[in-house]
Symmetry: C2
Subunit: 110 residues, 2 copies
Amino acid sequence: MTDTLSRTFSALADPTRRAILARLSAGEATVNELAEPLPMSLPAVSRHLKVLEQAGLITRGRTRQWRPCRLEAKPLEDVAGWVAAYRRFWDDGFDRLEEHLRELQGRTDG
Amino acid sequence: MTDTLSRTFSALADPTRRAILARLSAGEATVNELAEPLPMSLPAVSRHLKVLEQAGLITRGRTRQWRPCRLEAKPLEDVAGWVAAYRRFWDDGFDRLEEHLRELQGRTDG
């Protein structure tokens, strides 16, 4: 029983799978097209595609001979939504405020 | 040899670890404070903290008795940066454009 977001993060925790998603963001591609630039066997690429498919990050066409892979962005939208809750920790404004508070602290201490 | 982003995604692929980060976004906390609401042993919580620490998502204070955990947002900023490249796939504008193109396609097909 893995929750959806955990499955998404787990699928993204691999540079090959992220490279595949980046390629698919330019349009649909077959397994052979996806495998071409990758330094691994076709079965290895297929295993990565299966992980991406199970996480809902890609879907595959129904045609038996030519089953193009297609990016599905909903899980990525969920990741963006999750991480957005932490935005205030790196926004410029927050950094400047923190720096300012540290400076004030320094003056008090000194 | 795991790349930084893969290590971050891997660390985030667990609901307990994400709950710990959410708690720390409200401020520093000790291991005991973090463990209190969690349905698991203190050693189990410590193992999760170790994964978060190794991924650079938290740091821990130096004091031996009271080693507060602190959220470190840099890896989360990197996640936000990575996922932002896919934003066009779920932005309203894109959805509407896609829907419009589908409608046009439907008219051509019909």
